[in-house]
Chain length 494, copies 2
């Protein structure tokens, strides 16, 4: 029915998969990241803030043989024909920076970065196309001391934001050990790394599913294959029972102490030089952490940590929260992983041709924030501002003077700036703001040089059924001299 | 010469017009914005963080009659055919939020927002395509008390970040007064607002150029037109001398006191109802600020403030830094504007059809940071971390224990993680890190249970020619017991 000429009103909506963050959502995340940054700073890491936009070329996200960015990034072509895209993580920009500024940056270069990244993926419940990452990486350090440092720092960061010791564990493994096991099992030939690649892929995915499929399921995947309840068949790696035994033994290599686990792993990789190297690295990391007081209550060697299949080249680590929460169906389960990382030695090489050793960790910002809320360390409703109400619109200057005094005293305070005609609306506003105190001064009070303070916290309690005694002993409304406004508000807030 | 098959290495470069921020660039901006946020919080403003990506429709950036985003934004089409774009400011997303959540947000809604925005414009020296904005706005408050509050808050924010009173001034004007003057001058007909629109545009641009062109230049532009030194001719507004006199009088209406300026403005708009309303608003704002103690040393009524030609509908304000700096050519000039804003009552209407009054301010983050650096309030080289060097790579655990102790004592400390072979490189690294103290322990010192501390600050002074007395009284290198490491480092740092 609308006329052709009537311009259609734009929809007031975020694009699909994007969202807004209000008030405490912003401040709680900020407080958490500030605390993490403080730890990173103490460890000598410097902040780096790259721009949101990179060339697709630098991100390495071109479709093979096609002059168009790969799915997964938001990309567009600029006037000069260059393809640009929003960064999808904080590691690719770091690799670009490490290459671009290699002559200016200290080496090793410790940097942290916090900020949004963008993924052009199907959004889903709780899955957004923009989200925060919080990374710390050391570029240019080949020593596993750098990996150990990252594990210690991760442990400190978790405690600083409010995850108590005992409620988390940092698990460390090494991809070289895993490859050593593959070699022993006969699915990795060091002289021909490409051989058995698809088998190894199946083995890795099987290991990663131990939690979900149990031992029998994993054994099936290592062997001929597995048919699930729905009847779907997943092809197996085709390992013999003997070969599968080696892999299963690896997953079960965890022992009471790090030293015992390491000893068991050393047995398992006997005959593989790479595996021996990986075990040695794990042992060194454990020793270095021990020397700093990071014992098995905080960091453990755990052979079941696999992480990012193609990416890592040495130590890998993962921080898991071990306390239980209730899932959507009311069942208890462990909170699970909130951070992970490892050594990736080939990222800078893309740009310069020179291999640069690097290791780092990424904290899942939303996951960790959810954990803090689950632990009651965040998410409490914050107290709102004191609200100075407007009884007489000709005396705005008087009310503004009050709010100014309160602010100068360091109190969070607001003047009601809506239409003051309906006083009930002002109290509703104070309620919506979660205000603890409303300040009221009608003309009568003005003449008498007083103000009325309404204790909205107590008022809410009374409304919710506080006892008469409480009501009597502490009235929800007091009249004080105008000159005593700030002191009386402070008193009511305390 | 390269083989066809050799993949070309990606260039390690930011896209044109984008840049990286390292270390102090990040922390100084953050410290400044944290301080500003603290003030905004005290005033009852809540943080809002919208996503970087909006629909082009919500931004209102479609090319007329073309199904493609306008120049000025970075835009792309998603799989569903919707056009998305990076936000170009923080006001358009606020308008979208205010419309989308109008039933949930408190009304009035005070919010602040800080974050990057993107402009698809030609980059130039110091002009980037991604930069920070820092905005505070009140949506849903028709009262000019909201404008007065923003001016007071802006004043507080400038002082809190380190601009002393006397080094800045917040200037306030009102677009209604300007329109009243236009009416009196005969270039605005309230019954036909479209009439004389081009003339008014020329008048506004002329006023805005008073600083640069002087009175004679502006008069020329108000009249027949102006030929500049290069011979180029700019068409004038075609005002008669009498009409031009009214406009010139407006620009010269500033008086010693706000009251006198307001009185003069009232004379100038005699006969214009809109102008009288604007003068009344200015008077009210000045009175409200006065009641809170914001006198003419901080906020003044200034008829020369024009700002954003089409956008504002009532009060406009601008914060100017009044101290002098040297420009590129070594000439003294005032630092100039670092923040501005005003009332814009029609932004939400685009979405809902309902006019929603709004007013706000935007701080030029990079400008203000530059001002703080010019005043020596930022930009000093920060002290780097204590560096624990590695003399003996078999004793990494010992060194790591040292660095761990230092960190637990709250000191910023690093272990050297590069190749330790060349000790000179380690000291060069400490130097590049601006480290105040290097910790050294060779096998000899380890056996004797001591460590050597090298005072790199003093060392640098000696190298730069400190007196022999200073050198003697405070040796640049001390040996201390291993157990006294932390205390001795703290002592050296103090």
């Amino acid at each position: 029915m609308a006329k052709d000429k009537a311009p259609r009103r734009p929809r007031a909506e975020t694009p699909k998969g994007f969202r807004d963050y209000f008030g405490a959502d912003v401040t709680e995340r900020k407080a958490m990241l500030d605390a993490v940054a403080e730890v990173y700073h103490r460890y000598g890491f410097d902040p780096l803030e790259t721009s949101a936009v990179e060339t697709v070329e630098a991100l390495g996200k071109f479709l093979p043989d096609v002059d168009r960015p790969n799915d997964g990034v938001f990309g567009w072509q600029d006037e000069d024909g260059d393809w640009l895209a929003l960064r999808y993580d904080l590691t690719a920009p770091l690799a670009r920076v490490a290459a671009q500024f290699r002559n200016d940056l200290p080496s090793p270069y410790r940097r942290y970065a916090m900020g949004p990244v963008w993924r052009n993926e199907k959004p889903g419940p709780g899955r957004f196309r923009q989200f925060y990452q919080c990374d710390a990486d050391t570029v240019g350090a080949a020593s596993v001391a750098a990996d150990a440092e990252i594990c210690a720092m991760l442990s400190d960061a978790l405690e600083v934001v409010g995850i108590p010791r005992g409620d988390y564990i940092v698990r460390v493994n090494n991809r070289k050990v895993l490859n050593g096991v593959m070699e022993v099992a006969g699915v990795l030939d060091p002289s021909d790394p490409a051989k058995f690649e698809s088998e190894r892929g199946i083995v890795l995915r099987a290991i990663d599913k131990l939690d979900r499929l149990g031992e029998a399921g994993v054994r099936a995947l290592l062997g001929a294959g597995r048919r699930d309840e729905s009847g779907d068949f997943t092809k197996g790696a085709g390992l013999s029972d003997e070969q599968a035994e080696v892999v299963m033994g690896f997953m079960a290599a965890g022992r009471e102490t790090g030293a015992a686990t390491v000893a068991r792993l050393r047995e398992l990789v006997t005959g593989s030089a790479l595996g021996a190297e990986g075990v040695q690295e794990l042992e060194t990391i454990a020793a270095l952490l021990d020397a700093q007081g990071y014992g098995a209550d905080r960091v453990v060697v755990d052979p079941s940590v696999v992480r990012g299949l193609g990416y890592y080249t040495g130590p890998v680590f993962e921080a898991e929260l071990t306390f239980e929460i209730l899932d959507d169906k009311g069942r208890k389960r462990q909170f699970g992983s909130v951070a992970g990382g490892g050594r990736y030695d080939d990222l800078v090489k893309r740009f310069t041709g020179q291999a640069v050793p690097a290791t780092g960790v990424s904290i899942g910002v939303d996951r960790l924030l959810a954990a803090l809320r689950a632990k009651g360390r965040a998410g409490q409703q914050a107290q709102g501002p004191v609200v100075v109400t407007v009884m007489d619109r000709d005396r705005m200057a008087d009310y503004m003077a009050m709010v100014g005094e309160l602010r100068r005293a360091g109190l969070r305070a607001e003047l009601y700036l809506g239409n003051p005609k309906n006083f009930g609306n002002q109290l509703k506003y104070a309620d919506a703001r979660n205000s603890p105190v409303a300040v009221i001064q009608g003309s009568d009070e003005a003449v008498r040089g007083v103000v009325v303070l309404k204790d909205l916290v107590l008022g809410a309690k009374i409304a919710a059924g506080a006892s008469l005694e409480e009501w009597k002993s502490r009235p929800a409304q007091v009249e004080v001299a105008r000159g005593g406004l700030v002191a009386a508000v402070k008193d009511m807030l305390s």
